[in-house]
């Protein structure tokens, strides 16, 4: 029973499709993920892989007219898929906090930042105005903002990028949510600020025992912060394991290729690894067979599964398709374009 309550989010067979010229195309295609308490789950992939789609599906913020979500997103036995808006508004900001990529754009330019944080409290607590103010000051202290009383009255444009992101974090954690979704929280920030913000997120998580879904394209950020990692390609999770396994024993060809293309090696004269071809756009995504097959054409079709399934290769290590078994890099696969 104890184990059960540790499970915060259970995403089963999630399909999120966007309408393009009258037809729906799945940007997230049969995604299965879980988030536990005290865990940072990183969803990593390149642009267009569907990682942000998952975030907006969890928190229910999408254009309802042009988006179709099916499957289950279970939060404490409550299915968030298809939940009515007024119930969802009780959960958003209270049980699930969200942090976005661009802190300047994600704050209302004409509202004092303190009031924007207090707004969260207004909708989820019984606090009176003075209590809300005090709580915002407390939050500003917690996220490491100097002179919180002064900061309360500032407008977003008066703050630096790092401070703005701290305000957004204060907003997300104001009601001590169990789940925090951070969608590329440091992409718009300088590297030194990025380090501080990531440290802050980790500290908050340790204090509050929440679970964090960290969505990022940056493998370095994943290696430094994540506990569990899901690698996504073309709308599907292709590999999922704990962070050490992903970086030390990656199996799926895409994960291995991606790690190879990082300019991290000490051998500077070496060319970086390039993945052949390009990521297919949503409309032209192959819907049958292994979606990554086209980008490793030297691997014979017989090595791929007809309908690639996710296999548990070792306990806790999931890999899509069987093509990884015979996968090898090409000798001269260095500069190749399309």
């Amino acid at each position: 029973m104890e184990k059960q309550s540790d499970l915060l989010l259970d995403i089963q067979h999630l399909h999120t499709g966007y309408r393009l010229q009258g037809k729906f195309y799945d940007a997230a295609d049969d995604v299965n993920l879980t988030l536990k308490r005290d865990e940072i789950l990183a969803i990593v992939g390149e642009s267009g892989c569907g990682k942000s789609t998952i975030a907006s599906s969890i928190i229910g913020l999408y254009d309802h007219k042009n988006t179709k979500v099916t499957g289950d997103i279970l939060y404490n036995e409550l299915n968030l898929v298809g939940l009515n808006e007024s119930l969802f508004n009780k959960i958003r900001g209270d049980k699930i906090g969200m942090i976005f990529q661009d802190p300047l754009a994600s704050l209302n330019p004409l509202m004092r930042v303190g009031e924007q944080v207090a707004e969260t409290l207004y909708y989820h607590t019984d606090m009176k105005e003075a209590a809300r103010h005090a709580r915002v000051i407390e939050l500003f202290n917690q996220v490491g903002m100097p002179k919180p009383e002064e900061m309360y009255r500032m407008y977003p444009h008066e703050l630096s990028g790092g401070l703005r992101q701290r305000v957004v974090i204060a907003m997300a954690i104001a009601c001590k949510p169990e789940i925090i979704i951070a969608d590329e929280p440091t992409t718009a920030l300088d590297v030194t600020i990025q380090a501080q913000i990531l440290d802050l997120l980790e500290d908050i998580q340790k204090q509050s025992h929440s679970g964090i879904v960290l969505i990022t394209h940056d493998l370095g950020v994943v290696a430094e912060t994540a506990d569990e990692v899901a690698v996504m390609y073309a709308g599907q999770v292709v590999e999922k394991a704990d962070v050490k396994t992903i970086f030390e024993h990656p199996l799926h060809p895409y994960t291995r290729s991606l790690l190879n293309s990082m300019p991290q090696s000490d051998d500077e004269s070496e060319d970086l690894h390039v993945i052949q071809g390009t990521v297919p756009s949503l409309k032209y995504m192959p819907r049958e067979g292994d979606r990554f097959a086209a980008r490793i054409p030297w691997i014979p079709a017989s090595d791929h599964e007809k309908e690639p399934a996710v296999h548990e290769v070792e306990p806790g290590h999931w890999v899509r398709c069987t093509c990884w078994k015979n996968f090898h890099f090409q000798a001269d696969q260095k500069v190749s374009g399309e």
Binding site: I59, L61, N89, M98, D102, S106, N108, T120, Y155
Partner: protein, 319 residues
């Protein structure tokens, strides 16, 4: 901020001087003079020449301009050649009429435009929006005077609801009766005028709402669990309405421009009509005085816009 305002006011002085000089020279370059078309057969042409000499109309233009300028600094805008009254009192009478007409127009404009803009923005691309868009295209595409004449024809002649000329009924007596009559005379021109001026505000507000709807901070508000109607009122609408407030300053310019046509069509004795009359009658003193006044009002309007903007938008500060 007050330093900037003061600086802006000081900068206005040379702007106005240049404006007045240009207007003066241009007016003088127009063919004819105040006596053209008024040839009184009883008047000896020599008499006219003598009169013109007396009025200094044969002096070189720079001399005439300097004289005008010196008088201006003494608070004397000169005598109207045509009406034979001081220009200041002539304008003052008309300015009051134009002021009330403009005020009513402005009120009607915002009363009509703001709800229309909100509905159009809120129901973007739905039938409400499309209806308002069609209305906007019509008022935008039809030239003002055609629209006014159609209005006069419909409401004045066919339906007979409103008077179609003047600013007050000659038979009105007593304070309240005069006020009532004045208001009654203003309603139709103000309403027709405001239907024309709503177009830009409706469009501006609609675009503001449509743009703000998809801003990231609106998504943030939703992610906090703020109910959708509050998200609209407190975040989207508020942020779209504030720039509209700053429009008030620049409406002055629109109103002055538009008043010339509407006042002419309705024979409404305001500044716009006075302006057109003074051009056709070559009434230089009235003309230059009016241009100067319009110039001041336009510059003040722009300054006002900037001040309003800096008060409501914390990102814009004039130090």
């Amino acid at each position: 901020m007050w330093k900037t305002v003061l600086r802006r006011v000081l900068v206005m002085i040379p702007q106005l001087l240049i404006l007045s000089f240009l207007v003066f020279v241009l007016a003088k370059m127009m063919p004819g003079d105040p006596f053209t078309g008024q040839i009184n057969p009883n008047l000896d042409p020599k008499q006219i020449i003598r009169l013109k000499h007396e009025l200094g109309l044969y002096d070189p233009v720079p001399v005439q301009y300097t004289r005008w300028l010196v008088n201006l600094f003494h608070g004397d805008l000169g005598q109207s050649y045509i009406q034979k009254v001081p220009v200041t009192s002539l304008i003052a009478d008309r300015a009051v009429n134009t002021f009330w007409l403009s005020l009513l127009t402005t009120v009607l404009t915002y009363v009509l435009a703001v709800p229309m803009g909100i509905i159009a923005g809120r129901h973007q691309d739905e039938w409400q929006d499309q209806g308002i868009q069609i209305f906007n295209y019509i008022t935008f595409a039809i030239p003002g005077f055609v629209f006014y004449i159609l209005g006069i024809w419909l409401f004045g002649f066919v339906l007979g609801w409103f008077p179609i000329t003047g600013s007050v009924s000659a038979s009105a007596s007593g304070f309240w009766e005069v006020v009532g009559s004045r208001f009654y005379h203003m309603v139709l021109p103000a309403l027709l005028f405001s239907l024309i001026t709503t177009t830009s505000i409706v469009q501006y507000l609609r675009t503001g709402i449509v743009d703000n709807k998809v801003e990231d901070y609106v998504r943030t508000a939703r992610s906090k669990g703020v109910p959708e109607n509050v998200v609209f009122d407190k975040h989207i609408l508020r942020n779209s309405l504030l720039p509209i407030a700053a429009f008030m300053g620049t409406t002055i310019t629109d109103l002055l421009g538009g008043s010339m046509i509407i006042e002419s069509v309705f024979s409404y004795p305001g500044m716009g009509k006075l302006f057109l009359d003074s051009i056709s009658e070559r009434d230089y003193t009235t003309l230059t005085a009016l241009i100067l006044l319009f110039g001041i009002l336009t510059l003040v309007g722009n300054l006002l816009s900037d001040i309003i903007m800096s008060i409501i938008d914390p990102r814009i500060r004039i130090q």
